[in-house]
């Protein structure tokens, strides 16, 4: 079955600390992977995506993610978190030949001052 798992529902980090949000996927074809962020009252904003090539992708706001095919993972990282990063983060997967994105349940990030 095709699915995305984000094992951490909530994560709390201190401002300036590093961050890693986990994402594991199950997908029968070549996956295209995404991370989206949602701030309260806002739509989902694309942080970064992986289609092919370099498995370490850089995104906006200082985020990066690494695609590891052997682990079926696409974890999101940031070396130093800012208070404005507090939001909900969604991992998603799709593939060629489909318009459908499959989303994880999200990870809510809280940042302590």
């Amino acid at each position: 079955a095709q699915s995305v798992t984000q094992p951490d529902i909530h994560i709390t980090v201190s401002e300036g600390a590093s961050l890693e949000l986990r994402c594991n996927y199950s997908y029968g074809a070549t996956p295209y992977l995404f991370w989206y962020v949602q701030s309260p009252g806002q739509g989902l904003q694309l942080l970064l995506k992986y289609f092919s090539g370099d498995t370490l992708v850089q995104g906006i706001k200082g985020f990066e993610a690494e695609f590891k095919r052997s682990q079926s993972s696409f974890n999101l990282r940031k070396p130093s978190v800012h208070w404005s990063d507090a939001a909900e983060y969604f991992c998603a997967v799709t593939g060629s030949g489909t318009y459908k994105y499959i989303f994880g349940t999200g990870t809510r990030l809280k940042v302590l001052a």
Binding site: Q42, G43, L44, Q45, K49, K100, Y101, I102, F103, G104
Partner: protein, 115 residues
């Protein structure tokens, strides 16, 4: 940055009533989508729309649902006879391209409450 606009932001309706959720995608975009998120659950794909027809739909998108692009700018989702379980946040999205340069832009959502 260009935005996808959704109206209304909140909609309350009685069970069995028809609702229309409205979206204005980004003007040069060609691909349009509806997703929904029931409280505490995943964001779920409902339907995609391209070239004035449905290109893909999920099992959720049954005969009670329909989509329309009536005037070249709006993109609507109609639920004919709402059920309690239709209560959710509905997101519209659009993109200019498919494939490697694909980027979905999402609206801020319409919170639908069915009483």
């Amino acid at each position: 940055e260009p935005e996808v606009t959704q109206t209304p932001s909140h909609q309350v309706t009685q069970m069995g009533q028809e609702v229309i959720l409205r979206c204005v995608p980004i003007s040069n975009h060609l691909y349009f989508y509806w997703y929904r998120q029931i409280l505490g659950q995943k964001v779920e794909f409902l339907v995609s729309f391209y070239n004035n027809e449905i290109s893909e739909k999920s099992e959720i998108f049954d005969d009670q649902f329909s989509v329309e692009r009536p005037d070249g700018s709006n993109f609507t989702l109609k639920i004919r006879s709402t059920k309690l379980e239709d209560s959710a946040m509905y997101f519209c999205a659009s993109s200019a391209q498919r494939g490697a340069n694909e980027k979905l832009f999402f609206g801020s959502g319409t919170q639908l409450s069915v009483l």
